[in-house]
Amino acid sequence: MPEPARSPTRALLLALYPRDWRARYGAELEGLLAERRLSPAIVFDLLGGALDARLGPRLQPTDNHGANDMNLRHWKTCAASVPQPTVRQSLFGAGLIILATLALTTVLGLLKQKFGPVPAVSALRDSLFTLVIALSCTTMYMHQRSWRAQAVFAIFVMTVTYLIFLAAESI
């Protein structure tokens, strides 16, 4: 049966999942999504699923309960395709976190001087730690992805995080 064309939104949502996860479940999830209208609830559910797949426990089928050969072969292939970060990548990640902290605190200082304690500035102050953690998660868990994918993911997570703090500050 010919596979239907993927919509850009569905493709983007699937791309949020880790590469090894997509290698195992991507085609199935894509098949399931093709049967459903993409409602906001489904988008939200997929975002949660992608976060869980990236930050949750690493899952591998056990071989003592009858997981079949196809599964084990899949997982061995996936495990081999996710290299550990090199020393250079780890040092770059650490440097990036230090630089991001310096940059954000500098921006915060300048904004405080210019605008005072307005909600936008207070939200940046409160979210600063979380923003740096979000950035560090990207460098830790997405080191095998392209720089572009890492940048898009980091900007997306940091923007959403800041907006949540801004909304809380504005209430």
Partner: protein, 111 residues
């Protein structure tokens, strides 16, 4: 002790515990692929599992050896079935829930 371990199989799934239980119940009626599971669960429990939740729970169940893949040609519709360990975990979980339901009903009857 073995029974408690079987019950703990699902409670360790965190926010995916309910979805995992529903999936096991759905697969107790026979092998199903993802879409068929969501349809069945919605029909019997009135709960529409989101795709992210469904596959989060499926991945955990598969990693624990409670379900396994049935070989299929279409990679977009891979059926799953219960393993022996999955059936045992489901029986233990349902027995614990039945006991709790009886206890609650008994207390309500005496209230």
């Amino acid at each position: 002790v073995a029974k408690q371990e079987d019950e703990a199989e699902l409670s360790g799934f965190g926010r995916f515990s309910e979805a995992a239980l529903l999936i096991l119940i759905s697969l107790a009626a026979g092998p199903k692929h993802g879409y068929a599971m969501t349809e069945d669960i919605e029909a019997v429990a009135g709960i529409k599992l989101g795709p992210g939740t469904l596959y989060g729970a499926l991945a955990r169940l598969e990693a624990k050896g409670l379900i396994e893949v049935v070989k299929a040609e279409d990679r977009r519709r891979i059926p799953y079935r219960l393993t022996g360990a999955g059936e045992q975990a489901l029986r233990a979980q349902l027995a614990a829930m039945s006991a709790m339901a009886r206890l609650g009903e008994g207390r309500l009857a005496n209230a």
